[in-house]
């Protein structure tokens, strides 16, 4: 069966440069680490891009390619391939928002997001799905975003798949994923192989701590180096604090606060950047927060509203054989069976996948403490974990959350979990337990403070039916933050138009996951890459006074 020896089975492609950023910087690419600035600084560019993740990375590459002078601003540090040592103790504080401890206001949902050059793409798990046709159809029909059809988006997705090496994972799945396939097959649920954005992947399994060999085609090793090679300037450890408006509501500049080297607090150094156009790509928490701090116009009260998370349930199975869930590509098998059971705006559906297992992530996610927790941890190599990502934002009562500001100006996310969600959560916990028992689990434990787990499917079925599903008792996590600066067909229905242009601010384009008017219903990175490629191509033509592209 699956060979789980780390590094044994590898993709038969090699990547030419392991650490293009380090090599390029040595050759003179421009990078300013704002934490080292000694004095206030003024800069100027054609375009300032705020945030260097999925949306910001693609924007930087395309705009520099078009010959525009680009400055890419990132709050997090610049860490490159050679810095990645597969240690949770280093990766979470260095590469994640709030040391991977970001939570919703009621603390019921833990949110994973990147905060480093490359944003969440530096730490993501490489699953690469096009926006599902169901989602695009809903946007077209229910939301009036006619332009965004499967056909019109296909070339943009294809171009990005090509750029980032996306293809179905050709190697056998690790045992954690293999058991999802086996269990699902036994209960008659179809599964498929996940396309991944990797070149020359060694099947190590540490994508979440930054790929140590540069195989993952994150923004850090693809678009950002390409932009810097074209003369773009990267400024790391600079927090975009406020956009400065002219009386005509044009943005005239960005005020940035240099962070101290530990990334916790700003130093006293300010950086001001002037530009013709601003691209906002701080992610679905960071982007609405910057606009709120800047008191940007928001005549219809839509800013920061309808933030979606794919709130995710977790189920841990224990097998008699070793699973070694930390070894091998983390996500390679999925099932959309439970997304397709009901209408898209009916009872909430969920996508089934697996997470990688690492000691800190696993131990802090598992419920309980003391001897019971220790016993579960001793099963670590035998643990197999499934996650169910609930598709939010389509059902009339699935309204998502809301980004607002704390008194210190930092973003807070409210996300009430209501009955519509909990009903889906119970179905998800049941579905996962059934599949895990069918795959041969000895024991299955939904991650919930109210249970120690079950030793048979019959017992699980009864137990889960009675579990009180409530915030804080039932563990909910998310690595997919979406929405808050949603696209709309008209200014009454969105913060930006379907090309990402802000309805009230003429020289602002939003280009990240905050654009989405619902959740995606699939891991979002490729949706962001595709939409960014489309929108930034349009913008580049406009900024250079070239004829507009003839696309819908």
């Amino acid at each position: 069966m699956t060979d789980t020896q780390p590094g044994r089975q590898r993709e038969a492609v090699s990547n030419p440069t392991r650490d293009p950023m380090r090599d390029g910087l040595a050759a003179g690419w421009k990078h300013i680490d704002a934490s080292r600035l000694q004095a206030d600084t003024m800069l100027e560019a054609d375009v300032v891009i705020i945030g260097s993740g999925a949306g910001g990375g693609i924007a930087a590459e395309l705009l520099s390619d078009a010959g525009l002078k680009v400055i890419l601003v990132e709050e997090g540090p610049l860490m490159t391939t050679s810095d990645f040592r597969m240690r949770e103790s280093e990766a979470y504080p260095q590469l994640y928002q709030e040391s991977a401890a970001r939570k919703t206001v009621d603390k019921a949902i833990t949110i994973l997001q990147g905060r480093c050059v490359g944003g969440s793409t530096t730490v993501n798990w490489t699953s690469s799905f096009r926006t599902p046709p169901t989602t695009l159809a809903y946007w077209q029909e229910a939301l009036g975003l006619r332009q965004l059809s499967v056909e019109s988006m296909a070339p943009w997705f294809a171009a990005m798949e090509d750029r980032l090496g996306v293809r179905p994972w050709p190697v056998e799945p690790n045992a954690n994923n293999g058991l999802l396939a086996q269990g699902a097959e036994k209960v008659g649920v179809p599964t498929h192989v996940i396309p991944r954005n990797v070149r020359g992947c060694w099947n190590l399994g540490y994508c979440g701590m930054g790929c140590p060999i540069g195989a993952k085609q994150s923004m850090l090793v693809t678009s950002i180096p390409a932009a810097l090679a074209r003369g773009a300037v990267l400024i790391s450890r600079l927090r975009a604090d406020r956009l400065i408006f002219s009386p005509q509501q044009r943005i005239v500049g960005l005020k940035g606060l240099a962070m101290q080297a530990d990334g916790v607090r700003p130093s006293r150094i300010n950086v001001r950047i002037r530009a013709r156009h601003f691209v906002l790509a701080g992610g679905a928490v960071g982007s609405p927060a910057l606009l709120l701090r800047s008191k940007a116009p928001d005549p219809h009260g839509l800013l920061g509203q309808r933030t979606f998370l794919h709130p995710t349930l977790v189920s841990a199975g224990v097998f008699s054989q070793r699973v070694d869930g930390y070894a091998g590509a983390p996500q390679t098998i999925y099932s959309d069976h439970y997304l397709e059971q009901f209408a898209v705006d009916g009872p909430l559906g969920f996508k089934l996948e697996t997470p990688p297992l690492h000691p800190v992530l696993y131990s802090t996610t598992l419920q309980g403490f003391g001897a019971q927790h220790a016993d579960k941890m001793r099963d670590f190599p035998h643990a197999q974990v499934l996650i169910a990502l609930v598709r939010d934002g389509f059902h009339p009562q699935s309204l998502g959350g809301r980004v607002r500001l704390r008194s210190d100006g930092s973003p807070a996310l409210d996300y009430p979990l209501n009955e519509v969600f909990w009903e889906a959560a119970r179905r998800a916990l049941l579905a996962m337990a059934e599949i895990q028992f069918a795959a041969g689990a000895k024991r299955v434990t939904p991650v919930h403070e109210g249970t120690l787990g079950y030793s048979s499917w019959a017992e699980a079925k009864r137990g889960i039916a009675d579990l009180p599903l409530k915030p804080l008792a039932c563990r909910i996590v998310s690595a997919h933050v979406m929405g808050g600066c949603a696209m709309g067909a008209t200014p009454e229905r969105g913060v930006v138009d379907p090309r990402g242009r802000h309805f009230q601010i003429e020289n602002l384009t939003v280009c990240d996951g905050s654009l989405f008017p619902t959740s995606i219903g699939a891991n979002p990175q490729l949706s962001i890459y595709g939409l960014a490629a489309r929108n930034i191509s349009l913008l580049a033509a406009e900024l250079q006074n070239r004829p507009a592209l003839a696309i819908p």
């Binding site: 780390p6 590094g7 040592r85 597969m86 240690r87 949770e88 103790s89 504080p93 709030e98 040391s99 401890a101 009621d106 603390k107 060694w202 190590l204 540490y206 140590p212 060999i213 530990d262 990334g263 916790v264 607090r265 930390y326 070894a327 000691p359 800190v360 696993y362 131990s363 802090t364 309980g368 403490f369 003391g370 001897a371 019971q372 927790h373 220790a374 016993d375 941890m377 001793r378 670590f380 190599p381 704390r406 210190d408 930092s410 403070e449 915030p471 804080l472 008792a473």
Partner: protein, 165 residues
Amino acid sequence: MTAPVIDRRTFLKTGFAGTLLLACVGHVAAASDDEEASMLTAISAALLVGMLSGQPAARTEALSSTVAGVRQAVAGLPPHLQSEIADLFSLLRFSLTRRFLAGVSAPWAEAREEDVAAFLESWRHSRFSLLQTAYGALHDLVLGAWYARPEHWAAIGYPGTPEVF
């Protein structure tokens, strides 16, 4: 000091910060860093039952590296979380609130493991979300600090990270 006039329920509803109680605690607590170390040690010991060595020297050593790990993790959090955690630690190390909220009567250095476990268990299942979230913070900080350390990986059969180069 006199007992602040605030009932448990109002207190739990208003949150850690901004309460009269905290204002009193803040004063006293600033002085006693040792008490914070004892508190974190006692809580870590209860959370880590089943993983801690029975051998006293090894146990003391492992607990002190865990407490150091917790402090290091807190120092890396954004200011709004650091201040929430600071409020929580202040309340726990101050004897009045330790009894009142956690129900632990002995000072932390002398508290019995069962009593500490009982307090954690009651917060874990508390009907006050504030206490549930406080339990969650202690859970994540302590277990995270423990399992971040390579010397604790053998006990869970984790072979460690692969050799890449």
